[in-house]
Symmetry: C2
DNA sequence: CCGCCGCATTGACCTAGGTCAAGAGCGACA
DNA sequence: TGTCGCTCTTGACCTAGGTCAATGCGGCGG
C-alpha cells in the first residue's frame, strides 16, 4: 500500500476517520463549516472497493444504476459498442473523478464501465447522497457542479477539430487533470492503450501512432510506451487550448 | 397569443397561478404531494421573458451565469466559434427544454445562446432553485435528472457515425422531443437552418443538402423548406436507433 | 413589382484520415 | 529462455465528406 500512497498520480487513501485527500465529494464540504456529525454522516456513506484488476467491469450498458463512484487509485473507461461492434470510449476517469453521473437520468447505465489498471473506488449510494445533500447545501452544490462539468466534458469531442488538435487536447486535458490532483503536469503515465485513445477521439489507432510520432519529431513531447513527457507546454497549449477553452482542470 | 396556444410545437402558457403545461421544473413536483405553499414558492421564482426575436443573444461565452431558462415557445441554439471563426452548435433547445445547465460548473457560460425564432423563456435564478431544491427532494431529483440527461445528449455527437446516420439520428431526436411535448412525431417544423444543423453535426451544409435529398429519394421522409415529414418511421429508427439508444425522449 | 440577400442546391474536384497488410517490440507465462 | 499474443508502427492505397464555384430561389424592403 505504501507505493500507492507515494504515487503522485494516485489520490491518497483515507481511513475510517478521514476522507481521501482528493475526495471528490468532501472537498467542497470541509471548508463549509459543517459540524463533525454531518461530515461523519457523509463519510459513513462511502464504501471502498477491493482492488479491481484490469479488465473488470464495474457495470454494463443497461444495468441498473444505484451508486456513483469516485476513483481512488487507478483508472476506468466508460464505453459502448455500436451495432457493428466498433467501440466508442465515452470517457476516462482518473483518481478523484466521479463515474456514473450520466446514469442518473434513466436509472440505468448508458455504457459499460471497464477498469484499465488496478483500481480502488469509493462508492456511494446516489439516493443517500442526494438525501444528505438536502441537509448539506454545499454538498448539493458540489454535485450540481460535477454534473455540469461532465456536460462540458462530454461535448468536447462533438467539435470537428482535426486529428492533431483532438489528440493534443486529449493529452493536455490529462496533464491538467493529473496536475489538479497533485500529480505531474509534464510526465504522464497513460493507463489506456492507443486503441482506447483512438476510440475516444474518433480516430484509427494508426492515426494516433502517426500523430504521436509527429508531436515527438516537432519536439512537442517525448512519447514512450504508455507514457508521455510534455516538452513544450506552451506550444501544446497553443495547439489545443482553443478546444479546451472553458473547461476547468 | 392565441396562435401560440394552438401551435402543437409550443408549450402552452401558464399564468400567475398555473405552471406551463410542459414546465420542465414543475412536472416532477406536481404529483409529489407538495403543499400549495411550496408549489407557489417554486412558481414565484419563475419569470417570463418578453418575446425575443430571431438572432437575439441570451448570453455570450464567458458571460456570468446566474439563471437557467426553460423554453416556453420558440427555439434556441447554443454555439461557440473556434479560433478560425468556424461555428460549432452545441445544442438546440425546444419548448420545455432547459438552457444553461452547462454553465453551473464554472459560473460562466461556455457558449453563446442564440434565439432561432420568436421565443419566450421562463427564467429562474439557479441559486434560488437550488435552495428550494433543498426543501423539495422531488425538485432536486428533477434537476439531477436534467443535468444527467444533458451529459448523454452532449456525448451523442462524440461517436464516429457516418453523416447519414448522424443526420437521421438528429431528425429522429427532434421528432421524439416534439412528440414528448405533445407535438407531432412525423411532421416537423425546423426552427434552424441547414447550416445550423451542419455545424451541430460536424458536417458541411452541402452534405446536409445531399443527405436530405437521399432520404427523400428513398422515401424515408419528405423534405421541404424548413420542414420535414417522416414517411417511414420504422426505417428511420432502424437507421438512427443505435446512435440514440439509451436516451430518453 | 422589382431587386437584393441569404439560404439551399448541384457538380467537379481534393484531402484528411480510414483501411488493409505486413512486420516489430515487449510482456506474460510456461 | 522461448513462444504466444497483444499493442504499436509503417507504408500503400482508398473513400467519405469537405471545399470551391456556379446557380436557383424565396422572402423582404423599397
Amino acid at each position: 500500500m505504501a507505493d500507492l500512497e507515494h504515487d503522485p498520480a494516485c489520490a491518497d487513501i483515507g481511513d475510517e476517520l478521514h476522507f481521501c485527500r482528493t475526495c471528490a465529494f468532501a472537498a467542497a464540504c470541509l471548508n463549509s463549516g459543517y459540524d463533525k456529525a454531518r461530515l461523519t454522516r457523509l463519510h459513513t456513506l462511502i464504501e471502498h472497493t477491493e482492488i479491481l484488476p484490469r479488465g473488470a467491469r464495474l457495470f454494463r450498458e443497461g444495468g441498473p444504476f444505484s451508486t456513483i463512484a469516485a476513483v481512488r487509485t487507478g483508472a476506468v473507461k466508460t464505453c459502448r459498442a455500436d451495432a457493428e461492434g466498433r467501440e466508442q470510449v465515452l470517457g476516462f476517469f482518473l483518481p478523484g473523478e466521479v463515474i456514473g453521473l450520466n446514469a442518473i437520468a434513466n436509472g440505468c447505465y448508458p455504457c459499460d464501465g471497464v477498469v484499465l489498471e488496478d483500481t480502488v473506488l469509493c462508492q456511494v449510494s446516489f439516493a443517500s447522497m442526494a438525501d444528505l445533500a438536502t441537509r448539506m447545501p454545499a454538498l448539493q452544490a458540489r454535485l450540481f457542479a460535477l454534473l455540469s462539468e461532465d456536460i462540458g466534458r462530454a461535448g468536447l469531442l462533438a467539435g470537428d477539430f482535426p486529428a492533431r488538435e483532438r489528440l493534443a487536447a486529449f493529452i493536455l486535458s490529462l496533464s491538467r487533470r493529473y496536475a489538479a490532483r497533485g500529480g505531474s503536469a509534464t510526465r504522464l503515465r497513460l493507463p489506456m492503450t492507443w486503441s482506447d485513445i483512438a476510440c475516444h477521439l474518433r480516430l484509427a489507432p494508426e492515426t494516433i501512432s502517426r500523430q504521436m510520432k509527429g508531436f515527438q519529431e516537432e519536439g512537442l513531447m517525448s512519447v514512450g510506451r504508455r507514457e508521455v513527457t510534455i516538452d513544450d507546454m506552451q506550444r501544446l497549449e497553443a495547439l489545443a487550448g482553443d478546444m479546451l477553452r472553458g473547461l476547468p482542470a
